[in-house]
């Protein structure tokens, strides 16, 4: 039995949508409403997280407040997560704006139950201080918005999981995919919003579904 390389190649190109199909399969785990904001929770080791959870990662990240966390610290609330870098001239402010549109489109009573997380590609220049400045510049409230930086390998790994491609160009800027990912409270990817200036509707729908009691 042989397999033709060309057809393998074609089938792989064809299967690019596979990962997003997986992402769409909703977890059967129930939602839980946290008593404390994500930064102050401990990882509940008693309740195992699923095979599909991003919170399986053990990489360490630093927030703009200088706090060191693992992604599992975000557990407990649905997340909208995106990768950006703070010296980005065009796409990243638009990505942040798309996240704000999702936040604004959520009914009032659930707005505080969703967390928005931005993670930097730029492990060299984006220090916690730079992230803090970015938070101010983008007018992101302290509550409900988490800004993180990490080491090169960990950024690459997280991007690989989120299906985000990127590379640094000669000027030190990053060319990157524009993808927002909705995570369940247990860290499974349930939806991805691809591209810039997209309607927030589907993301909002997914978040509301995750927040159903």
């Amino acid at each position: 039995m042989t397999t033709n390389r060309k057809s393998l190649f074609a089938s792989l190109v064809g299967s690019i949508s596979l990962a997003s199909t997986i992402c769409l399969s909703l977890s059967s785990c129930g939602t839980q409403s946290p008593e404390k904001p994500p930064c102050c929770q401990t990882i509940k080791s008693g309740v195992p997280i699923s095979d599909q959870s991003l919170y399986q990662l053990d990489s360490r990240w630093t927030s703009d407040q200088g706090r060191e966390i693992q992604l599992g610290h975000l557990r407990g609330q649905p997340q909208v997560i995106a990768m950006v870098f703070t010296s980005c001239e065009f796409a990243c402010p638009v990505i942040v704006n798309d996240m704000k549109r999702i936040a604004a489109a959520l009914p009032r009573d659930v707005q505080s139950k969703v967390n928005f997380t931005l993670i930097s590609f730029d492990h060299e220049r984006d220090t916690p201080e730079k992230l803090r400045v970015f938070r101010q510049r983008m007018q992101l409230p302290m509550a409900g918005w988490t800004l993180l930086r990490g080491e090169a390998d960990d950024v690459r790994e997280l991007a690989a999981l989120l299906g985000v491609n990127y590379r640094k160009d000669a000027r030190g800027q990053y060319a990157h995919s524009n993808i927002l990912t909705v995570l369940s409270p247990n860290g499974e990817m349930v939806h991805q919003q691809m591209g810039l200036n997209q309607s927030p509707d589907e993301s909002v729908k997914q978040l509301l579904h995750l927040l159903q009691p």
Binding site: R5, V13, D51, Q52, L54, Q56, D153, E157, A159, Y174
Partner: protein, 265 residues
């Protein structure tokens, strides 16, 4: 000997009479690795205003792809990377599917055959366990560009012909063992002609939905006229590798995708 190995062998035997590039002295190469001297990699696609070459620093690269036997040692020592323990987010359901069990290779996976059906995460974890890392696309392509006779393999028509032959030939049902072919002028085996290999930044190709006006690049990648913007329109194997990498996701496992490790020097 498979036809393509035979052709590569002919190419190399023919080269014996040509004065080739000597393998670089490699005093600092760790066991099983080869020192690849510093050089320049010419990416297949560059963004506007980007330099046409990327410098590659001197580094060490495994002489052979990682074998089933070596990977078995790894999973013995690291239970979380055993097939039955694998978290789906780190490898799809076909992870190590050619092995007969968690700690048994069985008849379909020879000790000296390159390990395949491994995800990027598994390859990366293996490399870390060895105190190594995966090579970057730039490092891998630079190392693999070297032919049997010269570092600039793209200027070696015979080598290019042999490569095109391999890249257009079906993979055999049973993979040959590693090191069955002949080394390139750095002393590296099997960069072509055996399996595809993971790189650390395989996800650096910019495709659909990306920032900063690269959508044109996306069209270049997947349309027939795509090669118009590329540096070397004859380098069909490089296009195939670029396309193959672009199509991968980190948890994917594939029947002819393995890896080898690199190390800083």
């Amino acid at each position: 000997m498979s036809p393509r190995l035979f052709i590569l062998a002919l190419v190399v035997m023919a080269s014996r009479t040509v004065s080739g590039v000597d393998s670089p002295a490699a005093p600092a190469a760790p066991a099983g690795m080869v020192v690849v001297p510093a050089g320049d990699y010419r990416p297949l696609f560059v963004l506007p205003n980007e330099p046409k070459t990327v410098p590659v620093a001197r580094f060490a690269l495994d002489k052979f792809p990682v074998t089933n036997g070596e990977f078995l040692e790894f999973v013995r020592a690291n239970p979380r990377w055993r097939r039955s323990a694998m978290k789906r987010i780190f490898a799809d359901q076909n992870y190590l599917k050619h092995w007969s069990g968690d700690l048994a290779l069985g008849d379909s996976a020879g000790t000296n055959q390159p390990v395949v059906w491994v995800s990027w995460f598994a390859a990366k974890a293996f490399a870390q366990w060895k105190g190594k890392r995966l090579p970057t696309v730039a490092e891998w392509e630079y190392a693999a560009n070297a032919g049997p006779r010269r570092v600039d393999g793209e200027n070696d028509p015979e080598f290019q012909r042999a490569l095109r032959h391999w890249y257009s030939t079906p993979a055999p049902a049973e993979l040959p063992r590693v090191g069955a072919g002949l080394p390139n002028c750095f002393g590296l085996f099997d960069l072509h002609g055996l399996v595809w290999e993971w790189t650390s930044d395989f996800n650096s190709a910019i495709v659909t939905g990306d920032a900063r006006g690269d959508t044109g690049l996306d069209r270049q990648l997947f349309c027939g006229a795509g090669s118009a913007g590329a540096k070397d329109t004859a380098n069909f194997p490089a296009f195939m590798r670029y396309g193959f990498r672009s199509s991968l996701k980190a948890p994917y496992t594939v029947h002819n995708l393995g890896f080898r490790c690199a190390k800083d020097l």
